[in-house]
């Protein structure tokens, strides 16, 4: 039994987690959900007493007051009762040691023999020979299994899973979650699962706590919280997640969460909530009936109907024929053909390494040479963007995945947009098009949030009034609520201008909402292609079926880091 009571955690004097209380019984799983900056990682760390200063509250695990332990007792408690699986498993393994030696080290702490390494590997369904490998020789999913194996070396009373599948491909994530699910009963520990993914938490957890600006704003049985959320934030969060089968982009939560330590005096969510009144802005609500809200059940977001996407008769704009690209001996693109019509949104789905980014970059004119041709209105496009004439260049633009790197850090937003336009005249107009607040024009990119950066990138892509915009995972690094807003902007601008998109994502749900037609890539080939509704209704290729199954046909949204 783990009981957290009134826990507050500060980092360098800034309170990140405030008065959080919850309990988890052995064998049960508690999900902590929140977006970036909600304090969920800090809270997870505090459970093992690493990082941050605990300023108030209690943590007790099976009657042990964890905060009262001396350093020696703390070490003994960690060895006997705690297991932690962090995100980015690769980093949790020593790069200079073989996997077997690292697992043996974890076993030694428990007083178990080295020979048990094979047992551990078997438990996480890894071959015994993995013991002889170095971490870099394993895939991301295999590394995560090794970390889970290390966590199983003892008999933990508390298992903390901090974003255990973030950064993994959907099918790999599915396998890891299966594994955790299967092992859960076996371990018999109280499990705390930390995630930004409400759907995932809903699937795996018995109870859920929703964190916003360091506080639990809603708590309750997972089924109840997901089906009948009481806090407007929870409701909006659920609504903003794209879901397979929805036919329009979801409504976004306006604004963004407060920076740590800058929460407003009343309800921290009030500035973004349509239902907020004066009381919400001044009096912090208490936790009543599972929600910390003065108006439980209210709606935070007034739904704005999306602009209708008019699909006219499709005339071809871009034709990709028999494209082949290779890095050394590895074929990244293998005889790929694809066409994109005017006023059409073509979605391109695939996991990491499937070749989708290489294809996108080839269309834009970046990347290397290879076989095949790309035509624009029937005329062949030079491979290199440098060899395309200015008029052609203007017609194809791109929004990049990594919004940090896609804006020149030395320039203000105004300069960035003016350079794209070739002059300063239409900058304000362009910013308005991407719903970028005018006061952001004179700041440099490092002052912008991820969503704002991506809006600048979108504005820039529209500067030359292009015919096609290649969108390479434009929302995968964004939080769900922000992501919905950016997707909505993309959809609205498409409807207004009739531009075509080649929209790349690893996330089937996002792609299917936006796209008219979807192409599924795997191993450098397009394995299935067709209208979005058809792909969802009756997928033909086993790989597509696997992707759909991994996504669970449920809202599934994961933040993806760039690797």
């Amino acid at each position: 039994m783990i009981a957290v009571d009134g826990l507050s955690v500060a980092y360098q004097g800034v309170e990140i987690v405030r008065e959080v209380s919850f309990t988890v019984a052995p064998g049960r799983t508690y999900g902590l959900v929140g977006e970036s900056g909600s304090g969920k990682t800090t809270l997870g760390r505090a459970l093992g007493r690493t990082g941050g200063d605990i300023t108030a509250g209690r943590i007790s695990v099976d009657g042990t007051d964890v905060l009262a332990l001396s350093p020696r007792e703390l070490r003994a408690w960690r060895a006997s009762s705690l297991a932690v699986v962090h995100q980015e498993a690769g980093a949790a393994l020593d790069p200079t040691m073989r996997v077997g030696a690292q697992l043996a080290g974890a076993l030694r702490v428990q007083g178990r023999p080295r020979g048990d390494v094979a047992d551990l590997l078997e438990k996480v369904r890894l071959p015994g020979e993995a013991a002889r490998r170095y971490p870099h020789q394993l895939s991301g999913g295999q590394r995560q299994r090794v970390v889970i194996a290390a966590a199983l070396a003892g008999r933990p009373r508390l298992l903390v899973l901090d974003e255990p599948t973030t950064g993994l491909d959907a099918t790999v994530e599915h396998e890891i979650l299966d594994l955790i699910w299967a092992l859960r009963a076996d371990i018999g520990a109280a499990v705390v699962l930390i995630s930004h993914d409400l759907a995932l938490v809903g699937r795996l957890c018995d109870d859920v706590g929703v964190l916003y600006a360091g506080r639990l704003v809603e708590e309750g049985p997972a089924a109840r919280v997901l089906s009948a959320p009481r806090h407007p934030y929870t409701k909006a969060l659920i609504d903003s997640a794209p879901r397979i089968g929805a036919d329009s982009v979801p409504a976004a939560i306006p604004g963004q969460p407060p920076a740590p330590g800058e929460a407003p005096p009343g309800c921290a969510f009030a500035p973004r909530c349509a239902a907020a009144d004066d009381r919400c802005r001044t009096v912090p609500p208490g936790l009543a009936d599972g929600a910390r809200c003065h108006h439980p059940g209210a709606r935070a977001v007034v739904p704005v109907p999306a602009l209708p996407h008019r699909r006219q008769e499709v005339t071809p704009l871009i034709e990709v024929r028999n494209l082949t690209r290779a890095y050394g001996r590895t074929r990244v693109l293998d005889d790929v053909s694809l066409s994109i019509g005017r006023n059409e949104i073509v979605g391109l789905v695939g996991e990491s390494g499937s070749g989708k980014t290489t294809l996108a970059r080839a269309v834009a004119g970046l990347g290397r040479r290879g076989g095949g041709v790309i035509t624009l209105d029937g005329a062949e496009l030079p491979v290199e963007v440098g060899r395309r004439d200015p008029a052609t260049r203007r017609r194809v633009s791109m929004v990049f995945q990594d919004s940090d790197a896609s804006l020149n850090p030395s320039h203000t937003v105004r300069t960035i947009l003016a350079r794209a336009l070739g002059g300063p005249e239409r900058v304000e107009e362009l910013a308005a098009l991407a719903a970028l607040e005018p006061h952001l024009l004179d700041v440099r990119p490092h002052r912008l949030s991820g969503g704002q950066k991506q809006r600048v990138a979108i504005a820039r892509a529209f500067a030359g009034r292009p015919d096609l915009i290649v969108c390479d995972e434009p929302v995968s690094a964004l939080d769900v609520s922000v992501q919905a807003g950016v997707l909505r902007t993309l959809a609205d601008q498409q409807a207004l201008t009739g531009v075509s998109y080649l929209f790349i994502s690893h996330d089937l749900a996002v792609v299917c909402q936006l796209a008219d037609r979807v192409a599924v890539m795997s191993g450098g080939r397009i394995v299935e292609e067709g209208p979005a509704e058809r792909i969802l209704r009756e997928p033909r290729h086993p790989y597509t079926i696997g992707l759909l199954r991994a996504a669970g046909h449920e809202p599934s949204q994961r933040r993806r880091h760039v690797h």
Binding site: G48, T50, R75, A76, W77, R78, A79, S80, L82, A83, V84, H86, E88, A91, A92, L93, D94, P95, T96, M97, G105, A106, V109, Y134, H136, Q137, V147, A150, A153, G154
Partner: protein
């Protein structure tokens, strides 16, 4: 990995060629007539011309270069203009002296600098770290002859703990030799310690705060155990590469340290032959030092790759 070794090995002759061209070009820059410089101002024009013929100075430069390089490669290094002794014996014996001094310095440098770096890294942002970091920065910036002079004033003149010359009297025992080498070696060590310590510190600090160290601590290991099992291993790579770089600095520092402490090493020989325009000695000494450098750079590169399994087993492009 094997491909890397082959490629690096292939660059050796190329570098050798480059170094020899550089050395030869430098000697070509000497203003005036080499024969005149050797014989002095009073020598007759006829004897100067005779010497020019003997040295083959009137042939085109590429012929002289080919002759010289060929001679160097076959072990015929010529005779010193000023000392009249075979260059090879001279250079080899001086090189031995220098290697002794550099060896003593490196033997002290490696454990001390790596140890300080580890200590600073494990206790990063504490007082010890600051003292080591700023101290290392300061000593690394100051020319070795300045440090050497201060050491001389303090330890040889005032305290009289060490002799002021580095050359032990003929027939001294090894301890006496070491006693004489202490101050010059120390000034080289002070020059190089900071750089090595700072690199090891940076690697260690990252490793101490890494996810794997944190994970190990969460498994119930003590700080000390985490450092011994994980941090030390991960600090060897930055330590090896920093030591490789500093070994070159150490050799470069030989010139002024040998001059300051009156030590007959190859650095002092290089300087003297340059001042005297003793070209055969100068060319051979410079070539030998250049080769030594190349071996060190190559060795450090290979060691670095062997130590890091990610590079060794080909996760990172080499």
């Amino acid at each position: 990995m094997r491909g890397f070794l082959l490629r690096r090995a292939a660059t050796v002759p190329l570098t050798l060629l480059g170094v020899s061209l550089l050395v030869f070009a430098a000697t070509e820059l000497v203003p005036g007539d080499v024969a005149r410089i050797i014989l002095g101002r009073e020598a007759s024009q006829a004897s100067v011309q005779a010497l020019r013929d003997e040295l083959g100075l009137d042939r085109p430069w590429f012929q002289r270069y080919a002759d010289w390089l060929g001679g160097f490669l076959t072990g015929d290094w010529g005779t010193s203009y000023t000392l009249g002794v075979p260059v090879q014996d001279l250079v080899v014996s001086r090189l031995g002296q220098s290697l002794l001094l550099a060896g003593v310095a490196f033997t002290v440098l490696a454990p001390v600098a790596v140890g300080l770096g580890l200590w600073a890294g494990v206790r990063h942002d504490r007082a010890a770290d600051r003292v080591i970091s700023v101290g290392g920065l300061a000593f690394g910036a100051v020319p070795e002859f300045v440090t050497g002079v201060v050491l001389l004033v303090v330890f040889a003149v005032n305290l009289r703990w060490f002799p002021s010359g580095a050359q032990a009297p003929e027939g001294s025992g090894p301890l006496t030799v070491l006693w004489h080498l202490a101050l010059p070696a120390l000034s080289l060590v002070l020059l190089c310690t900071g750089y090595v310590a700072r690199h090891v510190r940076a690697g260690t600090a990252v490793s101490v705060e890494s996810a794997y160290a944190r994970a190990a601590e969460l498994r119930g290991l003590t700080r000390g155990q985490v450092v011994r099992r994980h941090v030390l291993r991960n600090s060897t790579v930055p330590a090896a590469s920093a030591l490789g770089v500093q070994l070159q600095f150490l050799l470069g520092g030989l010139v002024s340290v040998e001059l300051l402490f009156g030590y007959p090493g190859i650095g002092a020989l290089l300087l003297q032959s340059a001042v005297d325009k003793d070209l055969p000695v100068l060319q051979s000494a410079a070539m030998v030092l250049g080769l030594l450098y190349m071996v060190i750079v190559l060795g450090a590169d290979v060691a670095y790759r062997l130590l890091d399994p990610r590079v060794r087993l080909g996760a990172v492009a080499s």
